[in-house]
């Protein structure tokens, strides 16, 4: 690098001059050397987190534009803008300024739609990225903490989305806030005080929009930025994981360097994501707040739903059994609100702590940089599938009314089916996924030992018919056998000779995880199988 700058300096080019200037003052060359040689492996599934990051950048850009015109005030005004069906209507300044952004300000509607679409995309891409990390076991040591950071980012994404959804003060978002208010009030003892504190008095009050605005444009994005920085910093520290393959080990990374390949690729990819968002925002309406009218606590619209990432909580509320309120002294316990709250929080806690749970069960203290194929960890994959099913049923539960009308079903039947599915679905998904993984592993083992069936049937000189099997090449073989099959641990007595409850639970979980397993063929077995095959040829 220093040689390059030295020779370039002689030529006296502007770029080289600038580079040299910076290098002598802030040591750009060293930084570039360090970061530019970071290696990233190439796989499509490694770009999902990038999609989330880029959507967040688009959110920041479009959101800044919107802050120039949005006024977070709930002071009533008479609308005199250009949208005819609301002319002369009384509304809050917040809603009127959102209408102005949509109808009076050049590019305002486009940017509102860019902002909202990229918000939906941000959380969706983060969710898909989390699923990739989960199913490939990328959360294992040393990345457990980064999983938690990513989880916090996902929750912050939901928080950012919800606070933004409520800002325009239209009928839809007001209905959404009312549901949140009801949930808060359903918490025993502290509920009413919390609600009063949050709304500055009785719902809806005159403070909530300004408060949500502070959260939405300062606190939440600042936290997201901090956590994104930590998240990326840890990726640099840990280096990126890679899929199993020849030469890919737990102590190396195989891929391309950041400079220049990945910088170009990632930069280009940013513009692709930005382009897709712009295209969608320019052609598809999102959240047509003008159609919903100003918020007024009395009307509640049919088909009121939150944005997709809050949907699973709305679904939990809808699917909770009714008539479960009871009184203890002067306090009403609304179990139909408390059950969804508790179940939702528990679900999130399990998601956040999963890496630690699995690490405890396996007792595996090694570092892992080679990813698992989902089929090679049948129970983890099955637990993931069960979790997805649970989430998906709750999510679908938020649109029971639309499912009923669009498929001409009874709303009551849809609700009951969903309630049953919420319990039965995850169990079925678990069993089916686990069986499918084990079957795929057995197939892999078979292929590793005997090669791929070619469908070519040959008659041998002595009259026997055989089907010719094509042996695997080294690359494919590595993929099929390069995994470790854990064995269940037994509950062992500790130093005092006692088998503790803790160790019993651990043994039971270990059995749950590893009782059914398919051991990869050993080198000896593969060679023996090949020799056997050669005899036949």
């Amino acid at each position: 690098m220093s040689n390059a700058t030295a020779t370039a300096k002689k030529k006296g080019g502007f770029l080289a001059g600038t580079a040299n200037y910076l290098d002598e003052r802030v040591g750009v060359a060293g930084i570039l050397k360090e970061f530019g040689r970071k290696v990233f492996p190439d796989h499509w599934s490694f770009m999902l987190g990038e999609v989330a990051l880029y959507s967040f950048l688009v959110l920041l850009l479009s959101g800044t534009f919107l802050t120039f015109w949005f006024q977070p005030s709930m002071v009533p005004v008479i609308y005199e803008g250009s949208y005819a069906p609301l002319k002369g209507a009384e509304m809050s300044v917040a809603y009127a300024s959102t209408l102005d952004i949509s109808f009076e300000i050049r590019g305002g509607l486009l940017f509102r739609q860019v902002h909202h679409w990229s918000a939906l995309l941000f959380v969706a891409a983060a969710g898909l990225h989390m699923l990739r990390v989960f199913f490939t076991g990328a959360f294992r040591k040393p990345r457990e903490i980064n999983w938690v950071v990513g989880f916090v980012l996902f929750v912050l994404g939901m928080a950012g989305g919800f606070t933004g959804y409520s800002l325009p003060d239209d009928l839809l978002s007001g209905n959404g806030l009312r549901i949140i208010d009801g949930m808060i009030k359903g918490i025993p003892y502290i509920g009413a005080y919390t609600s009063s504190l949050l709304f500055g008095g009785e719902f809806p009050g005159e403070a909530i929009v300004a408060r949500l605005y502070s959260l939405h444009i300062m606190i939440v994005p600042a936290l997201i930025l901090v956590f994104v920085a930590v998240h990326l910093f840890m990726v640099v520290i840990h280096k990126h994981t890679h899929y199993a393959g020849p030469g890919k080990r737990d102590d190396n990374v195989v891929g391309y360097p950041l400079m220049p390949v990945y910088v170009a690729k990632a930069g280009g990819f940013f513009f692709i994501v930005f382009g897709v968002i712009m295209l969608i925002a320019a052609t598809f309406t999102i959240n047509p707040i003008w159609a919903y009218g100003a918020y007024d606590p009395s009307p509640v619209s049919a088909g009121t739903q939150p944005d997709w990432y809050i949907g699973w909580l709305d679904g939990a509320l809808r699917l909770a059994p009714t008539h479960l309120e009871f009184m203890i002294g002067d306090f009403t316990l609304s179990m139909n609100i408390l059950i969804p709250l508790v179940v939702g929080i528990l679900f999130l806690v399990v998601v956040a702590l999963y890496p630690f749970i699995e690490a405890w069960v396996t007792g595996d203290k090694r570092e892992h940089h080679v990813l698992d194929r989902p089929r090679n960890t049948p129970v983890r994959t099955a637990v993931g599938a069960a979790g997805i099913t649970f989430y998906a049923v709750l999510w679908a539960g938020a649109s029971t009314d639309l499912i009923a009308t669009h498929f001409q079903l009874s709303l009551n039947h849809v609700l009951t089916s969903m309630q049953i599915l919420l319990i039965v679905g995850p169990i079925a998904a678990y069993i089916i996924t686990k069986r499918a993984c084990l079957a795929l592993m057995r197939k892999d083992r078979e292929i590793a030992l005997h090669g791929r069936e070619t469908g070519r049937v040959v008659r041998l000189p002595h009259g026997e018919y055989i089907e010719v099997h094509e042996p695997m090449d080294e690359y494919e073989l590595y993929k099929l056998v390069g995994y470790k099959a854990y064995e269940p641990m037994l509950a062992r007595p500790n130093a005092k000779g006692v088998i503790t409850l803790r160790s019993r639970i651990r043994a039971a979980l270990s059995r749950f995880y590893f009782e059914d397993r398919v051991v990869p063929p050993t080198k000896g077995e593969i060679e023996a199988a090949h020799d056997h095959g050669k005899e036949l040829h």
Partner: protein, 262 residues
């Protein structure tokens, strides 16, 4: 004076007077709402309507429209009810179910008018709204802003804030309002078909009804400024769209980018 006020008969007189005023007032008001159209149409039309009725409706509604196990009595439902039910294709019903479904209209406008005249001739009932309320010029002069507000207060809880429809209990539903004729919307408010409540003229005045229809027609005629509307179904459609098409499309691009290196 004082003595007269304490007289027990005075209380009775006051109650009587009150009843007369309120009852009489109600009678006048309901007369204003319901008016017979029988006098305006010829006997021929009524007879033709009766023939059509006997051939197509009597099996359920009875040969004198007195009702039966399968269908309600039609005496007093008025021309508006017939015009709505037959004019939107709901009647004659195809099958029993939680709700009678809309389907292609079975009768010509003339036949529908004949049926309406026959049913209206049985007993006075709500009449078909005049052009004064549902004609094009009337709707053009309606106050869409007020109509929108009335719609959100009175209709949105079942029909959704943008008129996209919504679910009710046990398979019943509030239908989508897009593309429904102005007079049918008006009639539905007056007669309250199936699960819909009645919005009589003291509840929503004819001007209010006109404003609501004006609003719906304005929204229908002016597509969303933001582009394709995704069925007006709100966040559910938007969420599905972002997962399937936006994220799905981007994943396809990532696969393409990832494949380039191989």
């Amino acid at each position: 004076m004082n003595n007269a006020r304490r007289n027990p008969l005075a209380a009775i007189l006051v109650i009587l007077a009150g009843l007369l005023v309120s009852g009489g007032g109600y009678a006048v008001a309901s007369n204003a709402v319901t008016s017979s159209t029988a006098s305006e149409v010829s006997q021929e039309t009524v007879d033709a309507g009766k023939k059509l009725f006997l051939a197509n409706c009597a099996s359920c509604h009875g040969s004198n429209a007195e009702g039966g196990n399968m269908g309600p009595s039609l005496i007093g439902v008025g021309a508006a009810s017939v015009d709505f039910q037959v004019g939107t294709g709901r009647m004659p019903a195809q099958a029993s179910g939680p709700q009678v479904m809309k389907k292609p209209v079975q009768f010509t406008e003339e036949q529908t008018a004949q049926l309406a005249a026959y049913v209206a001739s049985l007993s006075p009932g709500p009449s078909i709204p005049s052009e004064e309320w549902v004609g094009e010029s009337a709707l053009a002069s309606g106050d869409t802003s007020k109509g929108g507000e009335l719609f959100r207060i009175n209709c949105a809880m079942c029909h959704n804030a943008v008129g996209a429809g919504g679910a009710l209990t046990d398979g019943k539903f509030a239908p989508r309002l897009e593309g429904v004729e102005a007079k049918h919307i008006y009639e539905a408010m007056v007669i309250g078909p199936q699960n819909m409540p009645v919005f009589n003229d003291s509840n929503l005045t004819p001007e209010d009804k006109r404003d609501i229809i004006s609003y719906l027609k304005y929204v229908e005629a002016n597509p969303s400024a933001g582009g394709e509307e995704l069925g007006g179904l709100g966040p559910v459609a938007e969420g599905l769209f972002v997962w399937i098409f936006v994220l799905g499309g981007i994943v396809v691009i990532t696969i393409w980018l990832g494949a380039k290196s191989n």
